[in-house]
Amino acid sequence: MATKASRSAARIMMAPAVILLLGWMLVPLTLTLFFSFKKYLPMRGDSLEGGLDWVGFENYGRFISSSSFWPSVQTTLIMVGGVLLITVVLGVLLALLLDQPIWGQGVVRILVIAPFFVMPTVSALVWKNMLMDPVNGILAHLWRFFGAEPVSWLSDASMQSIILIVSWQWLPFATLILLTAVQSLDSEQLEAAEMDGAPPLKRFWHIVLPHLSRAITIVILIQTIFLLSIFAEIFVTTGGAFGTRTLTYLIFQRVVDSQNIGLGSAGGVYAIILANIVAIFLMRIVGKNLDA
């Protein structure tokens, strides 16, 4: 990439991909912006052919003043935060565990990664019907075995349950990234710390954790992007009831249940803004780790 000629050649070669990606992003974004300023209620006879009424910021005002808006933002943040906390903490522990030379390491690693291959809808169904069902679920049986009253997970501890399901799905991702980071730690550093008189916990705190900080940053950033748009897990389990209505789910309800495309689009724009605020916020606090 040194010469001018090769640089412009590179630009030309990259152009199709860039244009495709731009289109991919711009078309839905423009449509969303367009609809968010229109009154668009298909059930009431509005249609694209008939022309849509321009309503200015009315949709935005209505979406944000709805009593479900702020709770849904809060729900989203709690859910994302909870999943991040669980996956990062357990991911670090699992990665350290998997790095130990154990018998059947290869199989264990595949088993740990397996949940990642299960579709969100399927895993949510499995958790809902096989594990968390208050009558026939495995957990209910377990509770009864110990003489306890089975918990109806998805209604009484709905938020925790969904966090648990989503964490289960994302733990493999976190573990995998963190495992590669653990493996890249120079063993002489640990030995040096050992000779310097640091017991195992201090070695973890002063040597291993700082080494993992970059990988943890990456896990947090990538997961946040995906977790902000959790949908299938909520749809399949609680359907947004029992305080599990996230912003994404609220938008879905506005568009599909209430058939109000304009209002839903305005919500979509809010979601974009929220995602960006969270992303900038994260970049600020953890992104520093990426420069060093």
Binding site: E188, Q189, E191, A192, E194, D196, G197
Partner: protein, 334 residues
Amino acid sequence: MGRIQLKQVKKAFGDVVVIPPLDLEIEDGEFVVFVGPSGCGKSTLLRLIAGLEDTTAGTIEIDGQDATGLPPAKRRLAMVFQSYALYPHMTVRKNIAFPMRMAKMSLQEQNSRIEAAAKALNLTDYLDRRPGQLSGGQRQRVAIGRAIVREPAAFLFDEPLSNLDAALRVGMRMEISELHKKLDTTMIYVTHDQVEAMTMADKIVVLQAGVIEQVGSPLELYRTPRNKFVAGFIGSPKMNLIEGPEAAKHNAATIGIRPEHLTVSPESGDWKGIVGVSEHLGSDTFFHVAVDGFAETVTVRAGGDVDLHYGDAIYLTPDHELIHRFDEKGLRIP
């Protein structure tokens, strides 16, 4: 204090015996160098002493106390690794402070020791940098600094200079030697570079395949190598080892003569040969000579002004007093 004794220490990885039982004594304040070819078990031996590997059999005593089962931190030894093993996310100051922090030393004491070490090692200007912003030689000094602030009973060095360029290596060699003179603490130093061994050591331990071939002062090893291996390993360029009829004349299976103990003449001498490759170093010239009747070429040192060239006839005369004789097993014949 730093007297280290190994008694019948053995190390095996699974079925592979890397170090057959060996005995070794290291006196307090001595500078001991382990030297040997790659893979001979030098690092393993050092790590056994450090406690980073468990012995398969035998005991290790430090200052007369059994330390075989002690964890590394309790042995009061400090190690400098080949890769330096600095903590990359900590500044130089924090790196050096780390062992003292772990020992819960008072901040005041920590700072005074850091200042002293930094001054001794020329690191004062770099205390607030991170290892990534230092040159190889500076990193090496930080690693040494981290070792000295603990005031250990002995220092262990595992090829500390092998990542440095030649000029820096000579400089650091002197610095480490000076440090030893100043601190007067036991140092164990692993290298496969025999020049480092010769210049720094009070006592050299020559290892081959986990077996100690000879222990002695540099000059002892140079003058009276116990066997062919030591003879060939110590000295640069290597000692010429000659077999066949010439050796038989001296009632030996092999005779050895160092390049510096041969006299060169264009006209007459004991052995006649043809000059092959010659290496001019300015002060010295090394000729590789194909001598009539010898299987291998003979290396010889001559003055820098000897005017002989490729293909010229050359006569070599060994100093008979300085010919080493070895039997069929390769052992020295006195």
